[in-house]
Amino acid sequence: MIETVKDGKGMTLIVKTVTRLTIGFILLYGIYIALNGNISPGGGFAGGVIIALSLVHVMLAFGKEVALKRLHSYAMRFAISIASLVFLYVMMSRWHGTYSHIVIPLAEMVIVSAGLFAIFVALVLLSKSDRDSE
């Protein structure tokens, strides 16, 4: 199955259809895990990894271009930087007030999801360019 991914634009029609149907539920589940971390198991890190897995899912099913069109590289870096600054501000100002149990998991979720997806994209592009140069 990996062989068909390499030359074509993504996988077969079955995989694409199932991906299109399930991707919203996966994103919703990631946000649920991140926001309900204070009353049930989970937290910002686990929710962020689930959202990164959904983006990886789109990228494996549809190919690189569609996934990067959904989440552009510059938008990804912008979101990571903004979320890091918000996280730093909330932690350093000791703002453990009314909405901190929403803001902290959201910032951690954005950092983890976009960061892990960026690492995945970078590794895939790196190995692909090595393969092309051979």
Binding site: I39, P41, V49, V56, H96, P105, L123
Partner: protein, 172 residues
């Protein structure tokens, strides 16, 4: 406690298979079996937070291993400086074990006083942090600077990987 021993035995067998098998893809699958066994061990030990974390991180790392790195021929150097390699490894292990023995001597006995620190957290989690999940209140409130350090580590690793693996400047 028979389940935890069964799971540990399964994990050890899978780890030995992962080291010894010749095919690289089979080795990666065996590593995934070790991770799933660890997830089940966390569930048996009643730590669902860690089980969720272990499961999702295991899946992501398996995808990265298969998709991004499995095609590259990893260099194995069987010949060469095997004597110095073995000497360095053995001496490092000896130094590590010595220092670990000196450090672990001062710790309390296994099984005694295990609730001394965590009892304060459990008692004051709802009152001070206002969150019913004690794990989340420890991570986000009592040890907030620890979480901040984690985020800083992830951010730094991301900057490093993006700087190494970016497209611009790789042709030079």
């Amino acid at each position: 406690m028979i389940e935890i021993h069964l799971i540990l035995f399964f994990m050890i067998v899978a780890a030995i298979i992962a080291v010894e098998v010749k095919d690289l893809l089979s080795s990666v699958i065996a590593v995934g079996a070790v991770g799933i066994g660890l997830c089940m061990a966390f569930l048996v030990l009643k730590a669902p937070d860690l089980a969720i974390m272990q499961l999702v991180v295991e899946i992501l790392s398996l995808i990265i291993l298969i998709r991004a790195t499995i095609r590259k021929d990893l260099p194995f150097s069987k010949s060469g400086r095997w004597f110095f390699n073995t000497l360095a490894t053995v001496s490092f292990i000896a130094v590590f074990l010595t220092i670990a023995h000196m450090a672990l001597k001062d710790l309390p006995e296994f099984g005694s006083g295990q609730m001394r620190v965590s009892k304060a957290y459990i008692d004051s989690a709802v009152a001070k942090a206002g969150s019913e999940d004690v794990v989340a209140s420890i991570i986000v409130n009592f040890r907030a600077y620890d979480t901040l350090g984690e985020a800083a580590i992830l951010f730094t690793a991301l900057i490093g990987i993006l700087a190494i693996a970016r497209k611009i400047g790789k042709n030079g």
